[in-house]
Each structure stands twice: as C-alpha cells, then as structure tokens.
Amino acid sequence: MITGLLSRIAETLFWTGRYIERADDTARMVDVYVHRMLEEPHADQEADCRALLAVLGIPASDGARLDIGMTLDQAAYDRDNPSAIAGAVLAARRGARSVREVISSEMWECLNVTSHGLVSYRKSAERLGPHVYLEFIRERSALFFGLTESTMSHDEAWRFLVLGRSLERVDMTARLLLARMPATPYEVGWPMLLRSCGAYESFIRTRTWDGDPQQVVEFLLMDRLFPRSVVHALATAEEALAALDPGAGGALTDPARRSIGQLRTRLEYADPQQLQGLLPDMLATLQRTCRQASEAITSRYFIYEQPVIWAQEC
C-alpha cells in the first residue's frame, strides 16, 4: 500500500472544493444582485452589472451596454470560464471523474447529475427568471458538501477538499467586501451583502442592528460561529493544514499554515472599533494570503508532472 495521497488526486480534490464553493457563492451573489436590479427600477443597471462582474473577477466585454441578460451569460451560464457558475461546476465534474476512486460514488453522481442539469435549468431560467437556476446550484452545492461530510472518510483526501472550499470562501467574501469599500464607486446595500453570504438571518438573530455598516463587516469577517465568516473559514483551513502536516510537533515550517494562522489571529484580535480604518489593508491581505497559501500548498503537496512535451537531444 502507498502511504500518502497521489499529488494529482490531492490537487484535483482541492480544486473540486474550490469550484463547487465558487459556484455556490457566485450563485448567491448573482441572485441577490439580479433581484435588487429588478426590484429597484431606478437603479443604474449597467453600473450594477459591471460591479457584479468586477467582484467576480470576470472581465466585462467592452463597448456594448451591459444588461442583466449579458451579465448572466457571463457570470452564470458560461460553460468555458471556471469563474462562472456553469464553468466551475463543469470543471469540478471533469476533475472528479478522474478521482472517482477516492470520492464516494454519491458525490460523483451528485456532480454528474448537476452537470447534466445545467442545460435544462438554464432553459427553465430563460422562462422563469434566473432564480430557479441559481437555486438549483445552491441546493446541489449544499448536497455535494453534505455528501462530502457524510459519505467520505474524513481522511487526507477529504481535508484537501475542505481546504480548497475554505480558501475559496475567504477569497469570495473578501471580494464581496471589497466591492462595498468606499473607494469603489459601486454601492451595494448592506442587507444585500448579508444575503449574498447567506448570513442575513444569522446576523439579524445575533445582533441588534442599528444600521451601522461596520457591524456587518465585523460579522462577516470576525464572527466565530457563523460558518461563512472569514475567521471561521480561515480556522477550518488551518485545521486541515495542521492535520495534513504530521510532523508539526516543533516549529511551524509550513508557509501556508503560518500565513493563514497569522491572518486568523490578526482578525480574531482586531479591535472592532478600528476595523473601518483597517479594512482596505485587511481585504488586500486576505486576497494576497489566499493566493500565497494556494501557491504554497501547490508547491508542497501537488508536485507531479503535468503532461509535457519532451525535448530531444541529438
């Protein structure tokens, strides 16, 4: 028996976690944005569309005036771009097909059925509005992660999947908050922000809100109990990394774990009163740390040969 997980499989699982989390978060964001645009006829639809694509990191096509339909095409239905919902689901399915021996057959079937459903739900969405499509994605993501918890051994393979999901969640929340920063011209309503993260009910139940936006920021960044908060996601990622590094008795040498841990500590002990001032720096750090952690994880765990064209001597 081989001890240790194949690097290729670990990487595929890491990205499966990221892609499904991305599809889920994107669906939530798109849903909230689109409904706001529809509810508020006076809103600047074009600006809102650009804001949404900017948050998602999808370059808006130049020239043409953006409308909701085009935005949905780019952010939701694009099957080729893994930053779009359909693209992310299909990328996850492609990867999962090559690791079917490691994940449970129910997880595989879940992704398989979700991928096959993209076309028909898009058709429904064209008749009934995008909500049915976005709801389908949210439900299937929840099902997938539920199956991940309940039908897959919580072993090394599972940890890579959780790690990917957690880092993606940190990244997506940072993107969302970044869009809300004063420096950006696009205004996003605070309740909408909370809804995008599925955090509205939790927030309202645990806080008495006086309308101060800072409370929202604090909740999304620092709440220890809400599973979609940045601190919670960072702690989950850290836990997974700690379990993956069996020799972690002495000094911490894993750069991914160190930077994530530092960031989590910094967030946990940050003074809520000063949060507003720290925010721009904090969000930039969040995104940078996610990227660096992902790179560190890749160079430590995912070393294998991509298909290469060999150069010949003589």
């Binding site: 040969e305 290469v308 060999w310 150069a311 010949q312 001597e313 003589c314």
Partner: protein
C-alpha cells in the same frame, strides 16, 4: 600485430535556460570482439551522476543515466583503451544461391530489409543490381562501395544527422554517415545483408606513438557473405588497426552516440571532441 589506441570522446551539451528531469543513453563504449579487445572503458557524466550499463539488442554497451536537478550543461566523457588488429584475410565466400537462402532463414534477415533512412528509389536500386550483375558477393561489395564513394563527395556539414541515404545521393555530398547509409542500402538491394558500424578511426597512420590526434566518430559498414566482412567506403580502405568498433545496427538510428529527453527549452548547442592516441 595490432595497435594500442586510447580514445577520449567528450560531448558537451549547453541548454538555453535550465534542463531538468533529463534521461539519457550513451553508446560510446568500444566493444570486445575477435578483431579488438577493450582493455579499459569508462563513461562518466559530470556532477557525480550515477551511470548504469547494459548491453542492447545489437550487442552495444549502453550507458544510461538521469539527472533530476536543473542544469545548464551536460558533459559525457568516454575514455577507452583498445587493442586493435590488422584487417583479416577475406573469408571464404558463399555462392549467391546459398547465401540468399541462409540469409533469409537466419538472423541476418534483419539486415536485408530497408529502414526509413536506408530506403532508396527503385531506379537507384535497379541501377545497383545492374552494375553488379555477374559479380560474386565480395566483388559486389567493392563495386558498390567504390560507386557510392565516387558519386558522393566527402563534404563536412553538407548533410545533417537526419539526412537519408537517398537525400545524400541526390545531393552528391555527405559525410561518413551518409556514405555508410548509402552503401548498406545498396548492398541490401543486391541481396547482401549489410549493417551500419559506428566507431572511431585513428586518422593518421603515420602519427607517432603517444601523439594525441584530434579525431572524429566514424562510420563504416559490414556485410554478410557467409561471415561478416568490414569495409570503409568513405576512405576506400580496409578496416584494420586504425578502426575501433563501438556499435552496429541497421542504420544510425540503432547506434546514436547520445540520445535523451528532458524538460526544458528545445534548443541545444552541442560540442563534440574525439582524441585518439596510439599508445603502442
């Protein structure tokens, strides 16, 4: 009485950027045969790289090695001391009928079929048969060798390592590799099993003992006329004390001195030096 020759064959590869995960095989070790005895042989690669040896299908000693770490340069050095012998007397040749029958049934059948590099136009093949009509096997071989040498001028750099026999014929120019390819190709067309030989040649028989001469890898041929007979069509000379055999095969592709693959930019610069010294 033969000669005692020392050969130092060094190949240096320079890579544009770094090469890594490099896997290589060198065919640079002189053989021990009835006509020569390899007293010392050693193939070494820089940086303490471990080298494994095995004997391939053709009887060639292959040195294999891999280098995982990124590197910008690769040096393969073969050092050998070989005792050679004078050209043997020509063997008792078989009559064509028996030669053809035995060649077709035996191991030599392998050396009758054209390879991609030694495939010639039907017209050229027919001309070779025409030219040697009525000749016995040994005469046939010398007619073909002389004809090839007469038609192909020795011009270094005129051809490349991938050039085929037919291309060299069309060009009328080539090096020992091309002349050997053409000779084996046409010998096969006349019904003689023929093989390509790669090795070294001491280029100046009159050089003094202990004098290091800048030499080259060399190529010549052997054909089967009941026993294997060697011939050097490039020099139109007998194969004797000055020749050191390293490898034999159907054509160059079976005997390349160095082949390998690696990760990295494809462009390489190669620098090959061969130094031959007659020790005794």
């Amino acid at each position: 009485m033969g000669w005692l020759l020392e050969i130092v064959h060094e190949t240096r590869m320079h890579y544009q950027g770094a090469a890594r995960a490099s896997y290589n095989e060198a065919r640079m070790t002189p053989l021990t045969l009835p006509s020569q005895t390899a007293l010392q042989t050693r193939v070494s690669v820089g940086n303490g790289t471990q080298v494994w040896a095995y004997q391939d299908y053709w009887g060639t000693v292959v040195s294999s090695f891999d280098i995982q770490a990124p590197h910008h340069e690769l040096t393969v050095r073969s050092h050998a001391v070989v005792e050679t012998s004078a050209a043997p007397a020509p063997p008792d040749q078989l009559a064509w009928v028996e030669l053809r029958a035995r060649a077709a049934a035996g191991i030599a059948a392998e050396y009758l079929a054209a390879t991609p590099r030694t495939t010639v136009d039907p017209a050229l093949a027919e001309a070779a048969r025409e030219r040697t009509r009525g000749a016995d096997p040994l005469e046939t071989a010398s007619i073909i060798a002389a004809w090839v040498r007469e038609r192909v001028e020795y011009v270094p750099g005129a051809t490349e390592v991938q050039t085929s026999a037919q291309e060299a014929w069309g060009k009328g120019q080539g090096v020992c590799q091309d002349i050997a390819h053409l000779t084996v190709a046409l010998l096969r067309e006349t019904g003689l099993p023929a093989r390509y030989v790669s090795g070294y040649l001491h280029p100046r028989p009159k050089a003094g003992i202990g004098q290091a001469i800048a030499g080259q890898s060399h190529a010549w041929v052997e054909y089967w006329a009941g026993d294997w007979v060697a011939a050097d069509p490039t020099n139109q000379a007998s194969v004797g004390e000055g020749h050191v055999v390293v490898a034999r095969g159907r054509d160059y592709a079976d005997v390349p001195p160095l082949k390998g693959i690696y990760h990295g930019a494809p462009s390489v610069a190669m620098n090959v030096t061969v130094e031959v010294t007659r020790l005794a």
